[in-house]
């Protein structure tokens, strides 16, 4: 009767094991007695997995570039907001100025109407100067 380990090993050499079975095989092998050659093999492979780069660094360039792009985005949106605010403010100011101008004009118009009304009412007074002119015209009064 073959043990689970032997079955798995055989399957392994035939390249018929799944990844899970290979993991199982490795752990079974670690716990088992004997099998020095197989243990050596998987030991070497495990050791090699611990080989990691020591000096390789994250490339810097890209980080700078992303920051730049980010800043560009920020700058663009700020500029957009600022100009929008400026345009809006400008528009508001112009509107207020126009309103003020209209109010002033209305007031002036009121003054003018009232002034002309007053002037009209002054007309009879103006006619007063003709009061004495009949005599002058026809010289009806004796000239002494």
């Amino acid at each position: 009767m073959k043990t689970r380990l032997e079955i798995l090993l055989e399957k392994y050499w035939e390249a018929e094991t799944s990844l899970d079975e290979e993991r199982e095989l490795k752990s079974l092998l670690k716990a088992a007695d004997g099998y020095p050659k197989e243990k050596a093999l998987f030991g070497i492979l495990e050791d090699f997995k611990n080989e990691v780069p020591q000096k390789v660094k994250l490339p810097e360039q890209k980080r700078i570039r992303t920051i730049r792009i980010q800043w560009l985005g920020w700058a663009a949106s700020i500029a957009l907001l600022a100009s929008a605010a400026w345009v809006w403010q400008d528009y508001e100011q112009k509107k207020q100025e126009e309103l003020a101008y209209q109010q002033v004009m209305e007031a002036l118009a009121l003054i003018q109407t009232n002034l002309s009304k007053g002037q009209e009412q002054m007309q009879p007074l103006n006619d007063l100067k003709y009061l004495n002119t009949t005599n002058q015209l026809f010289q009806t009064t004796s000239q002494k």
Partner: protein, 163 residues
Amino acid sequence: MKSFFEAHIWPLRGRLYRMVYLWTKDRDLSEDLLQNVFTKTVERQTELESHPNLGGWLVKSLKNETLMHYRKTNRLTGLEGTEELPQPESHGLDSSDQERHIFTLVDLLPQKQKEIFLLREVEEMSYEEIATQLEITLEQVKINLHRARKSVREKLVHQGINR
């Protein structure tokens, strides 16, 4: 927020490094080559963000980078020749033995089998993942892995290896 590079490429550095290391057998050189490829990756980031097979692209770029290096130094014309490269000099007491074993183990294998063996045994990738990464068919992965394991087994039985 993590950048595209940090999220998708940086986690692969160990796997990529081990692959170049297996080709070059030189730690420092492997790191330099990987760093070069990372720099290029960053330069072409926008294009790569929509790449359907990023892992495959990275492996291919690394391979090209390595070949370019060897072409410049006139040592090899293809990665098939890496078996002839000398085994790494011992850097320290404990690391040297450890790294020699893996090369003794896989050096007899042809390049393709070596890569597939590495991706399966060390990186524990599925057949599908290996096929995508190396841009070969599923069938080829299975056949090559079977052959690689067969050769390794023979080596194990006849010569034996030591850890």
